[in-house]
């Protein structure tokens, strides 16, 4: 699986990622990291999710991170619908500097690590703006420089059901396309990128804006379309964790398909393709 297996075949360096893709990719890494960590800080201020226009302490949440028990016997839990999962140490109750604290998400994954909603919000909105500008630059490039058409649209041979089934089976065993096939993104890769670029990230921004009472006055139909402000907040949270899921899978794929080659291609743009014996 490692590159040295193919040492006898001279790798060909191809231009993989354009400068715009590389720069916007790494800016996205910074933005999404801060947005997640500040977002969890904000969530901790009211660690409950609802469906509908309103939702507060007296209303029934669809998801809740909570704490029960006394001073010396604190237990954290995650409640989703009717299901209660003990999460002491991670959610509801966790350690900060050796001290047991009541906290939705633990200190190590929030920004700042201590409880500070004002700072969390400030940095969240700063990076939300940054993500928006970065995203618009990327979208403009994708459309006008042909990046979407050239690299992301599925080609005819990638659309067949049999092909997709084969791809899923290969991915599950961490087998990735090699040789000439590695010159383009594979079908699952394209689908994942398209879903993040055109569904999840726009959904994050739209649901985030919907939570703003100011923007609500400007676009009153938005909350209606999304099922109310609290539903928008719930979708915001679900979409955020979908992106976290994507990033985890993305990182596994990066590690399993040649981490140095992948990293080089996202930094210098050059990606090594090893010609196959029969090719």
């Amino acid at each position: 699986m490692s590159e040295s297996t193919f040492a006898s075949f001279t790798p060909v360096l191809v231009r993989r990622h354009s400068i715009v893709v590389r720069v916007t990719h790494w800016l996205n890494v910074v933005c999404l990291t801060f947005l997640l960590m500040t977002g969890l800080q904000i969530f901790n201020a009211h660690p409950r999710l609802y469906v509908g226009s309103y939702g507060a302490d007296a209303d029934r949440p669809i998801l809740e991170i909570g704490t029960r028990g006394g001073d010396d016997d604190l237990h954290g839990y995650l409640r989703v619908g009717g299901l209660t999962i003990p999460t002491t140490g991670m959610l509801g109750v966790s350690k900060r500097n050796g001290e047991t604290v009541e906290r939705g998400f633990p200190s190590w994954i929030t920004f700042p690590g201590y409880t500070d909603l004002a700072t969390g919000r400030r940095w969240h909105f700063f990076f939300a703006w940054f993500l928006l500008f970065n995203g618009l630059a990327y979208l403009g490039y994708g459309i006008f420089a042909g990046h979407f058409r050239r690299d992301l649209v599925l080609e005819t041979d990638q659309l067949g059901l049999a092909h997709l089934r084969q791809q899923i089976a290969d991915h599950a065993r961490l087998h990735f396309p090699k040789g000439e096939e590695a010159r383009r993104y594979n079908a699952l890769q394209k689908i994942a990128y398209l879903a993040v670029i055109f569904v999840l990230l726009p959904l994050m921004i739209v649901t985030g804006v919907t939570m703003s009472p100011g923007a609500d006055a400007a676009f009153p139909w938005l909350a209606g379309v999304l099922g109310g402000r609290q539903t928008a907040r719930t979708i915001h949270f679900a979409a955020a964790f979908s992106i976290v899921g994507f990033v985890l899978i993305h990182l596994i794929a990066v590690l399993a398909s040649g981490v140095l080659n992948n990293l080089r291609s996202m930094i210098t743009g050059r990606y090594a393709i090893v010609p196959e014996k029969s090719a």
Partner: protein, 264 residues
């Protein structure tokens, strides 16, 4: 910590410098030292707040209304947040006498300072609206509010030409601050003060305002977050600047790091 001499505007260069500083500093120190860095924190705050406020004002203009709901949409129980009852004998005495001795003082940059009883306020044409209250923490509650449009009260007092903001001084001390600045207050500019849904509410869900929700009078400024909706309003002061009030950021929570313009 000296105040920034520059106006609140930002340039593209400042935006890029701020972003670059953040990106460069992130991997170096721990996250908390980054959050605590005064220069980076100030840059992040200034860029974010300026952008957020300007874009929102551009989008909603002066007149766009917050969404109004119907009776069937009301929250079964509207959460009491912040102060649930102001401390001290003064407020208790007002409460004991049914607020009959309470007067709203309207002063500052006005030609005709006022002192209004609840009956005076109720004699002015009322406005009733059912709106969603969005707390900075993330929860929402829908309530029905009845009160006097603030614009009416301000116009009765006659703002002078240099009037820019309206400050609401409250009866509650939300924090025993060591510098004596624990008194709750809030402020809005004239755009929001003259917005048709900005009212001084004396009624909620068809009844008089309860103590928990700010009796006898609270502000409703519907296009902003909950902490702007000052409860227990005792005095409305029209000013040209709020730099010398509290810690100078225009409100109890803005003094503690929250946005003065709380549209998101």
């Amino acid at each position: 910590m000296k105040p920034s001499p520059k106006p609140a505007g930002i340039s593209r260069r400042q935006l890029l410098t701020g972003a670059a500083a953040v990106a460069a500093a992130a991997p170096l120190g721990g996250c908390d030292s980054l959050a605590d860095n005064e220069h980076i924190g100030d840059a992040v705050q200034r860029i974010e707040q300026t952008l957020s406020m300007r874009v929102q004002r551009l989008l909603i203009g002066r007149g766009a209304l917050a969404r109004e709901f119907e009776i069937k949409d009301l929250s079964p129980q509207f959460k009491v947040n912040g102060t649930d009852k102001p401390g001290g004998d003064d407020y208790q005495r007002l409460l004991d006498t049914g607020f009959s001795n309470w007067r709203l003082v309207v002063d500052g940059k006005v030609r005709n300072p006022l002192s209004l009883s609840i009956a005076d306020l109720k004699s002015l044409p009322p406005r009733t609206q059912i709106t969603r209250h969005d707390c900075v923490e993330g929860w929402s509650a829908i309530g029905q509010w009845t009160g006097v449009p603030l614009s009416r009260v301000i116009d009765l007092a006659g703002p002078t030409a240099d009037a820019r903001y309206v400050v609401f001084h409250c009866a509650d001390q939300y924090e025993q601050a060591s510098d004596g600045n624990g008194q709750y207050y809030e402020s809005i500019d004239l755009v929001d003060a003259y917005h048709p849904q900005t009212i001084l509410a004396y009624g909620m869900n068809g009844k008089d305002l309860t103590v928990g929700h700010g009796a006898p009078l609270r502000l409703r400024v519907e296009r902003q977050l909950g902490y702007k909706h000052a409860k227990y309003v005792m005095r409305v002061e029209v000013v040209d600047s709020f730099a010398r009030i509290g810690r100078g950021h225009g409100g109890f929570w803005p003094d503690r790091g929250y946005e003065w313009y709380a549209g998101i």
